[in-house]
Symmetry: C2
Subunit: 221 residues, 2 copies
Amino acid sequence: MISQTEENYLKALWNLTSTKGEASVNELSKQLDIKMPTVNSMMKRLAEKGLVNYESYKPLKLTDKGKKLAALIIRKHRLTEMYLVEKMGFGWEEVHDIAEQIEHIQSPAFFEKMDELLGYPKIDPHGSPIPDKNGKVETEQYIRYIKLSDCKEGDTVTFMAVSHSSDELLKFLNSRDLALGSKIKVKSIEPFDESMTVSYASRKAEMLSNKVCDKLLVRPV
Amino acid sequence: MISQTEENYLKALWNLTSTKGEASVNELSKQLDIKMPTVNSMMKRLAEKGLVNYESYKPLKLTDKGKKLAALIIRKHRLTEMYLVEKMGFGWEEVHDIAEQIEHIQSPAFFEKMDELLGYPKIDPHGSPIPDKNGKVETEQYIRYIKLSDCKEGDTVTFMAVSHSSDELLKFLNSRDLALGSKIKVKSIEPFDESMTVSYASRKAEMLSNKVCDKLLVRPV
DNA sequence: GTAATAAGTTAGATGATTCTAACAAAATCA
DNA sequence: TGATTTTGTTAGAATCATCTAACTTATTAC
Ligand SMILES: [Mn+2]
Ligand SMILES: [Mn+2]
Ligand SMILES: [Mn+2]
Ligand SMILES: [Mn+2]
């Protein structure tokens, strides 16, 4: 009914529209590394299938049906990442590319079993919420997270999630023993480049660039 | 490099050629439920890639390269089936369709991890040998297996594998508590239809049709 | 050993997914 | 406001994977 390719477009659009509610053909093109004319015709196709609202020269939006379908693919992606980390012993920096493929497996029983073996987790290994079986996402807490880069000197926060994590960032965090759940205290902020010196666990003083702090989502303690 | 579609052709050809060493376009067409002209042009394509020996009107053969590649896909299929049964709690009748999809995942680390978690199994849940990382298959024992239907009254044998298992057969075996490893004694054979009455474990007298006995591979005790 | 049947091949078409080139509309700059 | 740049669209082509129709070669039946 819906191809692997179409699923990837839907998922990318879901991710892009999660904040602003809409996205441009250009953004989607860059996200997927697929040329604009290709994206354009795919959007028309998904509009035919009732998954996307497409009007010439207007921003793209997912329909309710499209949102739900996308969320169910994201669900499979995040459940898989959690399974790979919790049950197979992979590091959080290794799982995204595998999940990118396994998310397309057609077998409700397979993901049902994963969910069950994991004890119905609510978040993935990077702290992102796992949509439920109806495609509903628990945003309540998640939207309250703030960036570490928006914290002030003296703040103490809990490290809750990594946003748009790349392998490199996750490996960097590994090298500094900075894991989800860590209590981070902002010791000082360098005015010149906004880099932070923070302490957490056994680390007394670690310097984190603004580029890093911008990706770390935290919750005030 | 090689598509999911091409992988499925290779695998089907590997299975068909395992006995006779060669197969016809017609057989492959039936196996895959794809029309002959389609199969014909795919064989030319795989020949271009050095995976199949194709000559007009001659039987199809895999090249050494094709054999190895096919065996490595079969390896992924069988490791997956074993993982699903041993680590996720699926029944042996549920895993083939899921493995049919997961066998195409491109991630050496993923299958490496499965193999490790399973303790480097030599056979899959249906008793078929799992090719090693070089595509070599341990046929030594496997080729010595005989069909239960070829046994005589009074023979006692061990149930080692199911050949070309369908869901239905596996569910039937479940319903009779007939599992791999069972010691089966042939009590009598009905001359009219060659159905067997056998005993094993706590089952004193079970009737098995010739069609069933033909699929059960056993080893004399 | 011909006639009928089965198997294999060629040709041409279709839908999916991608591209480049060219053009049109919208947004930004001056 | 008019010129320039960016974004979006249309047109046309390529590759992959599939099909049907028509033809050819091989096998089987009488
Ligand atoms: Mn991911
Ligand atoms: Mn994907
Ligand atoms: Mn199987
Ligand atoms: Mn397959």
